[in-house]
């Protein structure tokens, strides 16, 4: 058969079968028992030419309302941020994207060095000592943090704030079921973790106290107070954090966090309908040998030249097999590269500036909505997201907004029964004053 991905000609096939010593291809499959041999043709769509297929798929893509055409105020863990054009150019270099895991360091120095740089940048942002080479996403790295804490403390219970992303908590529940770990939810009040309740739940059987910073409602949790409570009972302090916010916020490491996790999606990674994104996992030096996933370390070659290798692999599944504490193998290397390029492009000055703009624009939006008479639900301070209460179902409002070219905020009623008719609004640096004013106007008109 002729296909652009299949170079074997009829002549090649003939010569190769002869060298193998068989008459026909089928002989090579004769070890498949007759009973399980697939007969006939797979009932899937016939092949399409490149042009015909791209035409079809472009039409399919056009059925979706994308943030290149619509103004988005939807965040809730995935954000529309500035994506430096250079990012896609770098990750499109196929020496990167067509490579496997860098198991042969001599011909993988590029990838290894890029990851080493990524690890450094994550440490800088989070204020932690060690960061791994990436995890699937923020949700699964959050769950893995609980597993690490349970293993390290030999305790079987974790306390999780209700103000952590509901989908991260749902993933944690699934992982915890596998490991027989009890997950206790600490309620939120007015969008922030209720510390009085937390205090009451703490005891010396708690492996970890897990919060999000800024939390799911956009609020800035009191990491100083939570740290003291967690460490009082020798429990691990785990913080899930939007790394872009850490351009302006004091990093969790400075507050004594033991494990900091999150998703680097805000750095040059498209929303992509939820994936692939890029989980990160950072710890104190004490936990270095317990980190899940791959780590890159610096070393030297036989002539003393600096180079990089995958290291501390004794932790990993391909060595420890059933003794491994995590089964992660593939990670999100290419997206870690994308995040590195975006963080590099932003640099020391840009990271501060972008975080500042998010703060300021969300603050402006909040003030304008308040002025327009909307109720803003808030206990303390917020970063680039906040909650407003509407007098109609959010789904209905979002349909009206969509007609005006706006993707509205998140319907909190989907996860919090008491918060129906509450919308979580995200305002990133991408939204102009005009965008914000338009949102306020549209919301007011349909209120």
């Amino acid at each position: 058969m002729n296909h652009r991905y299949l170079p074997m000609t009829e002549q090649d096939q003939k010569e190769m079968l002869q060298a193998i010593g068989v008459q026909a291809v089928d002989e090579l499959f004769s070890d498949i028992p007759e009973k399980v041999r697939f007969q006939g043709e797979l009932a899937i769509k016939p092949a399409k030419s490149e042009s015909a297929l791209t035409r079809e798929l472009m039409q399919l893509a056009a059925k979706n309302a994308d943030t290149k055409q619509y103004i988005s105020f939807l965040g809730a863990g995935v954000y529309d941020h500035y994506m430096p054009t250079i990012v896609d150019h770098v990750i499109s270099r196929s020496e990167f994207y067509t490579a496997y895991t860098p198991y042969q360091p001599e011909i993988s120095q590029g990838e290894l060095q890029a990851i080493f740089e990524f690890q450094t940048m994550i440490c800088e942002l989070t204020g932690m000592d060690v960061a791994n080479s990436s995890m699937y996403d923020g949700g699964t790295s959050f769950a893995e943090a609980a597993m690490l804490a349970a293993g390290q403390t030999r305790r079987k219970k974790v306390l999780v704030s209700e103000a952590v992303h509901p989908e991260s908590r749902a993933v944690l529940e699934t992982y915890a079921a596998g490991q027989h770990i009890e997950v206790v939810t600490v309620p939120q009040t007015n969008g922030i973790t209720d510390l009085t309740v937390l205090k009451g739940l703490l005891s010396d059987d708690v492996a970890a106290v897990m919060v999000q910073y800024p939390n799911f409602f956009g609020q800035i949790e009191r990491l100083d107070e939570i740290e003291a409570l967690a460490h009082d009972v020798k429990s691990m302090f785990v913080v899930s954090s939007n790394p872009l916010a850490l351009g302006a916020l004091t990093p969790p490491g400075d507050f004594g966090a033991d494990i900091v996790v999150g998703d680097a999606q805000p750095f040059g990674i498209p929303q992509g309908y939820g994936g692939p994104h890029c989980g990160y996992f950072a710890v104190t030096k004490k936990l270095m040998r317990k980190v899940p996933g791959r780590l890159v370390g610096e070393t030297t070659d036989d002539e003393g030249q600096r180079g990089y290798v995958l290291t501390l692999q004794a932790r990993e599944q391909h060595i420890r097999r059933d003794k491994a504490t995590s089964n992660i193998c593939s990670n999100q290397a290419l997206n870690a590269l994308a995040a590195s390029v975006a963080m590099t492009a932003l640099g020391k000055k840009g990271i501060t500036e972008i975080a500042r703009q998010n703060f300021q624009k969300a603050h402006y939006a909040k003030q304008q909505l308040k002025a327009a008479g909307f109720e803003v639900i808030q206990h303390g301070y917020t970063f680039n997201e906040f909650v407003i209460k509407l007098n109609k179902p959010i789904k209905e409002m979002n349909e009206l907004l969509l007609e005006q070219g706006i993707i509205g905020g998140y319907d909190l009623g989907r996860d919090y029964e008491e918060l129906s008719q509450h919308m979580l609004i995200a305002v990133t640096e991408q939204r102009t004053k005009e965008d914000i004013d338009t949102l306020v106007k549209e919301l007011s008109e349909h209120a």
Partner: protein, 491 residues
């Protein structure tokens, strides 16, 4: 090649340089310290590099030249299916309607994305012979764990609470036992026989009323088809266990044998292997899981359903194991895999496996006189050689692998599977031409000759790479896992 250090991006940094472009703040500004509690505004900026855009591009271009990908050259890394990554997949995944949509948008505003996912699921159902597929797992190992959690939920729903053991062959991928552990099971190893297949007597010995599942790769990691698969299925099912298919090696049997027809109850696929989502230097992948009807209630939620001509997510799944990942999986990789499947069609996929198997057998036969062939029978998409003969002459398989670097090849997988001494596991894939295979074969034959005549050339390899063999012991004993400014480290 000239040896040269590439500075770290931090070492290229110069105070005052910028590489970004942000619109000026256009809203009234307030004092930042009023927007956060006291002590919560960072006192010093994170030390990210300060470099201009061209410096960034040159840095990463230099790094890319220090990296070998499939586009650079032959990459016969066994069990990893390093086939060509079609460029059209990359283009389609970047369409704004796929790349720039938010996972929490109302379903009505993303019908195109949902339609693609639904159709991909249907295609994977047909290709695997299963009854339903979830796209939620992010990678192969994640899929393994998801499948095992479903098997556990299935047994528990039947009141069958003592099925605590998962049987795994000694030739299995390392992720299999690790996934079993994370899913809360104990792993039991079943031996391979002298033909490289699962030893049925040993399987009968280890199976019991505590067996939750058998995890199997077919063809196995030796590249051999487990021809007793129906007997094995009968043994496991007879004991009340489930059969799990590790789809890492599916590239061998597309349109030839479907896991669903072999008796498997759960299957995971590696879309970044068989279905060309690129490997990306280690990820992202995508690891959909397919199940038979009796396991459908336990699928991760939400489940994508079609109501009339509308697609939507169904959350009301009381027996579901729950979520395994935020949102709906690695959509971008799924788009690439879908594009690939639609580019190949049924005839194309069949030819993929046929050509992959011909390529592997051709290489195996031509290399057999020069290396030890532990299992002398037709292989599927990959095969193993042993470097036993060379080891007797003082040259290890690791040395042979390093010597291949000098010829511009990525070496095969080495020292895996664990049940073959000095193992080399070679998977050519179907996208490589006969000329490429012949050149690689010639290089291997030359190395075998060098082992006999000038072993030091192999032992001291590589000779032409930008860096020599790296000191891995030093890296592990004195870990340096991040860059520190020079002043900081010289204590």
């Amino acid at each position: 090649m000239h040896k040269k250090d590439q500075p770290l991006i931090f070492e290229l940094s110069k105070k005052g340089r910028t590489g970004y472009s942000l619109t000026e703040l256009d809203v009234p500004e307030v004092d930042l310290s009023t927007l956060a509690p006291e002590g919560f505004i960072r006192s010093s900026a994170p030390e990210l590099p300060e470099v201009a855009e061209l410096d960034i591009m040159r840095h990463y271009t230099a790094l890319s030249k220090r990296n070998h990908g499939v586009d650079s050259g032959f990459y016969p890394l066994g069990s990893c299916t390093m086939k060509y990554n079609p460029k059209v997949n990359e283009a389609v995944a970047r369409y704004a309607g796929f790349a720039h949509i938010h996972p929490l948008q109302e379903a009505s505003s993303v019908q195109g994305a949902l339609e693609l996912m639904y159709d991909l699921q249907e295609h994977l159902v047909e290709i695997t012979g299963m009854d339903e597929v979830t796209l939620q797992p992010a990678a192969g190992a994640h899929g393994e764990w998801t499948g095992l959690m479903m098997i556990r939920a299935f047994h528990e729903a039947n009141g069958d609470l003592n099925r605590t053991k998962v049987i795994v062959p000694d030739s299995a991928h390392g992720t299999n036992p690790a996934s079993a552990t994370v899913a809360g099971f104990e792993t039991i190893t079943v031996k391979s026989n002298e033909d490289g297949l699962v030893d049925l007597d040993d399987l009968k010995r280890v199976v019991g009323d505590d067996t939750a599942a058998l995890m199997l790769t077919n063809p196995n990691t030796l590249g051999l088809f487990e021809e007793n698969i129906l007997e094995m299925a009968a043994i496991i099912h007879g004991a009340g266990g489930k059969l799990y298919y590790d789809g890492a090696n599916l590239n061998a049997v597309l349109s030839k044998a479907r896991p669903g027809d072999m008796g498997f109850d759960v299957v995971h696929l590696n879309l970044h292997k068989t279905f060309t989502g690129p490997h990306g230097g280690g990820g992202p992948g995508s690891g959909p899981v397919g199940v038979k009807a009796d396991l459908i209630p336990f699928l991760p939620k939400p489940v994508l359903v079609k109501n009339g001509d509308q697609f939507e997510f169904e959350y009301n799944r009381p027996q579901s194991i729950g979520r395994v990942k935020p949102y709906y999986g690695n959509f971008g990789i799924n788009v690439r895999a879908y594009t690939y499947i639609r580019s190949m069609g049924p005839d194309g996929l069949k030819a993929v496996s046929e050509n992959a198997v011909i390529n592997a057998n051709y290489m195996m036969r031509r290399l057999a006189p020069h290396f030890d062939l532990p299992f002398d029978r037709h292989c599927k998409h990959e095969f193993v050689l042993s470097g036993k003969r060379q080891k007797k002459l003082g040259v290890r398989t690791l040395d042979i692998a390093k010597r291949l670097l000098d010829f511009g090849y990525h070496p095969p997988t080495i020292y895996f599977p664990l049940n073959v001494e000095e193992c080399m596991m070679i998977e050519p894939t179907e996208t490589e031409s006969k000329e490429t295979l012949d050149s690689f074969i010639e290089a291997m034959i030359q190395i075998a000759k060098e082992v006999e005549e000038t072993p030091e050339v192999v032992q001291e390899a590589p000779h032409t790479t930008i860096i020599g063999r790296l000191d891995e012991t030093k890296a592990a004993r004195q870990p340096i896992l991040r860059y520190q400014k020079k002043e900081a480290v010289e204590v």
